[in-house]
Amino acid sequence: MSVLDRILLREGSTRAVALMRILLVFVVWSRWANEVLLLRDLSAPRLALTVAFFTITAWMAVGLYTEVAKWAFAGLVCTIVFGFGVYGGLEDWAHHHTTMLANAAVFLAFTPCGRSLSLDRWRAVRAAEAAGQPPPPERGPLWGVTLLGLLVSSLYFWSAFDKTTWAFLSGQRLEQIFVELYTGSDWSPPTGAGLGFGVAGTLVVLLEYTLAFGLWVPRLRRVLIPAGLLLHGVFYALIPVYTFTVSMWTLYLAFVDPDALHDALDRLLGHPPRVQ
């Protein structure tokens, strides 16, 4: 069996993708809910967007008929980013962080993200109980998760590639961003500041290259996942990245062993571990 077949036939617990389903809805709410309120714009397209936004996102969050909801959600986010943003001229809706959300919503639609932590699951459990059967397994094909992982590592690789310049590695770009965001033009760097910016710039680039490839190596994840989460936490605290950090934190679930996460949630809830 080829590597591609192994990736595309991969199966596992659906709890990780269910968590992504719920968390991505939260991210989308925090990014756009305030901007699509009814009071913002009463034109027909925006009115339709408002209705669709709150209906589809809530539908996706609770996970009812999720096989349909997930595609509606992907279509909604793509409409916002590409329809209103890229082609409609709303530039703020067509940034890197929003385009990443659109990609993530589409890739999530290729996963069985409604099979756990959803009203669909609740209905399936109730039906099984009524029939005197055990609940259906929370398992399904996870090749879409590999796409979500590719999204993350592509972002890291190309972002690092873009920064592989003397200006960034020497810390000069970080210093320019610091001046723009923090000090204004009156900036006389104290002794050692240049070295500090240089070390930070080099570390960022090295970490991004390492994350791009290392997150695919299971034994490195124990170190790289916390390092990546911390990196985005620092970005969140220091520069205006809006929902980018929480999107990335959510997408890191693509690199968590889905069965290990399933068992961890069971243990957390006091359930006995599954028989492997």
Partner: protein
């Protein structure tokens, strides 16, 4: 999964197209230096922030030739937070010369467009108070 099982053809096609789609914008923009298709991403994040700003340190040159630090924000009547070009730095220097009646000097670096390194535009040796000096 049973040995020898093959992935459905449609799944292979979707996967490969999606994987390629993720690289298209960056290949266009970063490798070929051409404008990426609008629905793709080049992942050049924060490339423009801070790319049009100058960093300045201000001084007054005293009679004995020493440089005393100067707080531009306190010295100018209506100081601007940002000086974005060499010309704006020079204009600020001239205003300070007039306002303070002193020999004002500046060490100034300006960012270069496209995310390049700092470019040194003025050193404290430059006499910006003299009309016609500087640019």
């Amino acid at each position: 999964m049973p040995p020898g099982e093959r992935a459905p053809f449609l799944r292979v096609v979707v996967f490969v197209l999606a994987a390629v789609h993720l690289q298209v914008g960056s290949v266009y923009q970063q490798l070929l230096h051409r404008r990426a298709p609008p629905t793709t991403m080049s992942w050049e994040m924060y490339g423009s922030v801070g790319s049009k700003v100058c960093a300045t340190a201000w001084f007054v040159r005293t009679a004995d030739g020493a440089l005393a630090p100067l707080d531009r924000q306190a010295a100018e009547p209506a100081p601007r937070r940002f000086l974005r070009t060499q010309r704006e730095v020079q204009d600020a220097a001239r205003r300070l010369c007039r306002t303070l009646g002193a020999d004002v000097r500046v060490e100034a670096r300006c960012a270069t467009r496209g995310g390049g390194p700092w470019r040194s535009v003025f050193q404290p040796d430059d006499q910006l108070c003299i009309p016609g000096a500087g640019l």
